[in-house]
């Protein structure tokens, strides 16, 4: 059921955005898997069997992303996930990624507490998706509210899906609009 055609990784290292460069640059990374949509072209009422089969892919992608970013898992502070569904599929096929993508990252990152923010859409090859990012242990950390634009050139074809995971190593590069700070996180409820 899970047939992967292509894996695309991208890592950004941001030194400044026209302000004073902080001592530690920010890294943001994305991993995208392009796979065959087994439900393309028809309405399939029972799509849940695919969800569990995506668990190993979620773990493989999480590990691959941390490796591509060349950091320890302890350095990951933000995350997000997303899906782009080819034109022969429906949005609901993208929703299959919520559980396996989210839980895989939380596991790899040592039991992260916060909900993993997400975005999804149906699109043509080359469609771009803005994947939201928030702090891994406390959704309200304002400095870590961010997003990363991702796309895979030439994908998804009509009968394909793209599943995406995104991680970051810190706050926005010139974070200065206040709110809850990462240092103040209690990390009990996933929110603060």
């Amino acid at each position: 059921m899970i047939e992967i055609r292509e894996i695309f990784t991208q890592v950004e290292e941001i030194f400044h955005e026209f302000g004073p460069p902080p001592a530690k640059p920010l890294k943001r990374g994305a991993v995208c898997a392009v796979l065959t949509n087994p439900f393309a072209g028809r309405y399939e009422p029972n799509i849940l069997p695919m969800m569990e089969k995506l668990n190993p892919l979620g773990l493989e992608m999480s590990r691959r992303l941390v490796q591509a970013m060349r950091v320890e898992t302890a350095a990951i502070e933000g995350y997000g996930k997303g899906a782009i569904v080819g034109s022969g599929g429906e949005l609901e096929h993208g929703a299959l990624w919520h559980v396996p993508g989210g839980y895989a990252m939380r596991e790899i990152l040592g039991g992260a507490k916060a909900i993993v923010p997400s975005a999804k859409k149906v699109g043509a090859p080359g469609t771009r998706l803005d994947v939201p990012i928030t702090h891994i242990n406390a959704s309200y950390v304002r400095g870590h509210f961010d997003a990363m634009e991702v796309y895979v050139p030439g994908a998804p074809a009509a009968d394909e899906l793209i599943y995406v995971l995104v991680m970051s190593t810190g706050a926005r590069i010139h974070d200065r609009v206040g709110g809850l700070r990462a240092a103040e996180v209690k990390g009990l409820d996933g929110l603060r």
């Binding site: 894996i7 695309f8 990784t9 991208q10 890592v11 941001i14 400044h16 771009r128």
Partner: protein
């Protein structure tokens, strides 16, 4: 370093299946991108030496980033290419100054040879402009299976006073190459062509 780098991006595209056929081993293309300040934005300068030196720095930095991202020895790299997108306060010649005089030598060092011309593309563009980086075999420009391209794009660059510089390195040709021509095992690698 002369280059004022705002951002570095490294991406790897790994193809395992094409038209349902397994690609064994998978073909991987790495692209490393630097977003730099254009020291000559907004004015005409006759001498472009500063950009030429920046090109030399970036050839080594981005070439090494690609090889590292592929996790291979430089000698295992098969094809390469380069490209630049100049923000609107600059001119096309700024891209030429970075890409052509000095970028090639350190790039060839990163791939441990490179007898062939490094194929290139350039344009003036704005935030999110995409460029297709042409690819060719590093030792023999006529290897038909390695004629290819890979797309590069940075969503928030180039700003008007910036330049996006990209280098691409692969560990193989097109996924299911089957249109004949010179094969990689036939390469003599002396004249850069065959």
């Amino acid at each position: 370093m002369k280059a004022k780098i705002r951002k570095l991006i490294v991406q790897v595209d790994e193809v395992r299946l094409e038209m349902g056929q397994p690609v064994n081993p998978p073909v991987r293309k790495a692209v490393a991108i630097a977003v730099i300040e254009n020291p000559f934005a907004g004015r005409y300068r006759d001498k472009l030496d500063e950009l030429i030196d920046i090109g030399e720095e970036l050839g080594g930095l981005l070439g090494d980033k690609c090889v590292e991202a592929l996790g291979i020895e430089g000698s295992q790299a098969e094809s390469y290419g380069k490209a630049a997108i100049v923000g609107e306060a600059g001119e096309l010649e700024h891209a030429a100054a970075i890409l052509h005089p000095k970028l090639g030598v350190p790039l060839r060092k990163a791939v441990e040879m490179g007898a062939a011309l490094v194929p290139s593309a350039k344009k003036v563009g704005t935030l999110g402009t995409a460029i297709d980086i042409p690819l060719g075999h590093k030792n023999a420009a006529y290897v038909r299976s390695h004629f290819d391209a890979v797309e590069a794009r940075v969503s928030d660059a180039p700003r008007a006073n910036e330049i996006v510089v990209a280098v691409a390195i692969t560990d193989g040709g097109r996924p299911l190459a089957r249109v004949g021509g010179l094969q990689k095992h036939e390469v003599k690698g002396q004249d850069g062509l065959r």
